[in-house]
């Protein structure tokens, strides 16, 4: 050992981290057979969309509104950014439906479910602040309509959708950081607890652990959800 005192906070953090998420769980060799189903693909599709969103958004932020409004390449990246957001929400909603109907909070996975649900809720204002930051008539229309709605529930000037500077700061810094942190926590929790098994597999394992002979596996084991 390096001779570091046992009370060192770095040692404590490292030991806690390795205990919570050992390397073989953090980066496993493979996944259980039941993960070989299309319904399990939508989680990673959400992450892939998020990577495209952040990459295209970074390029848009570097170049600015004149570039994305008045040049061909700017239009292209503006389109990539908008359509990757559409895809992100599309696959995230299907992912959410899949996990809801398989009760993905089973087996101590409540925090996995909660971080996923909060990510969805935070992604909504992240997208809204983007739509009102376009610097065009579409943004004006959306922001004034949203202002009426937000005023009606008492938000007032604290979150002012007609304030471009505030909305742009939310959109390119504060909310993306929140989404990335939440997604990272979500993925680490999935690694820690494992991908939720199908409900029928849980029932078979419970039967087997009770000492009874498990029923025969279903015909679609490993292929369905």
């Amino acid at each position: 050992m390096s001779g570091a005192p046992e009370s060192s906070w770095t040692v404590k953090v490292r030991e806690k981290a390795v205990e919570a998420l050992p390397p073989e769980k953090l980066l496993p060799d493979g996944q259980p057979t039941y993960v070989a189903s299309w319904i399990y693909v939508f989680g990673v599709a959400s992450i892939a969309s998020l990577v495209v969103i952040i990459t295209s958004g970074t390029i848009l932020a570097l170049k600015g509104p004149a570039w994305w409004h008045y040049t061909g390449v700017g239009h292209f990246f503006n389109g990539i950014h908008m359509w990757s957001v559409e895809l992100f929400f599309f696959v995230m909603v299907v992912h959410l439906w899949g996990k809801y109907w398989m009760s993905a909070w089973r087996g101590g996975r409540a925090r996995v479910w909660v971080t996923g649900a909060i990510t969805f809720l935070v992604a909504v204002p992240t997208a809204l602040t983007g739509y009102v930051s376009q610097q065009n008539f579409d943004a004006q229309w959306i922001s004034t309509q949203a202002k009426d709605g937000l005023n009606s529930v008492g938000v007032g000037a604290f979150f002012n959708v007609t304030n471009f500077g505030q909305m742009y700061s939310y959109h390119v810094l504060l909310l993306p950081i929140a989404v990335v942190v939440l997604v990272s926590a979500h993925v680490l929790l999935v690694r820690r607890h494992g991908v939720v098994p199908p409900i029928e597999l849980n029932a078979r394992l419970a039967t087997a652990s009770a000492g009874e002979a498990p029923p025969p596996p279903p015909a679609a084991a490993g292929a369905g959800s």
């Binding site: 070989a36 299309w38 599309f90 899949g98 084991a221 490993g222 292929a223 369905g224």
Partner: protein, 69 residues
């Protein structure tokens, strides 16, 4: 030139030069475009459950044959 031609073809297929179509059913009021996206999500959900994943049956059979859990 190509851009203008492509825009003309797409414009013939998707004519957006009008106010949005809205589906109004009791208190539910949704733009048609949103209804189409929701329908596509439902289709994707159903297909993801029904469609077998490539190699899934082979992997399951191999695992059962190998005795691994």
């Amino acid at each position: 030139m190509i851009h203008a031609a492509a825009a003309a073809v797409l414009g013939a297929v998707f004519n957006l030069n009008h106010p949005a179509h809205v589906v109004h059913w009791h208190f539910i009021k949704l733009p048609l475009a949103n209804v189409i996206v929701i329908a596509l999500m439902l289709v994707a959900f159903a297909v993801a459950i029904a469609l077998p994943f490539p190699g899934a049956a082979r992997r399951a059979a191999a695992r059962r044959g190998g005795g691994a859990s």
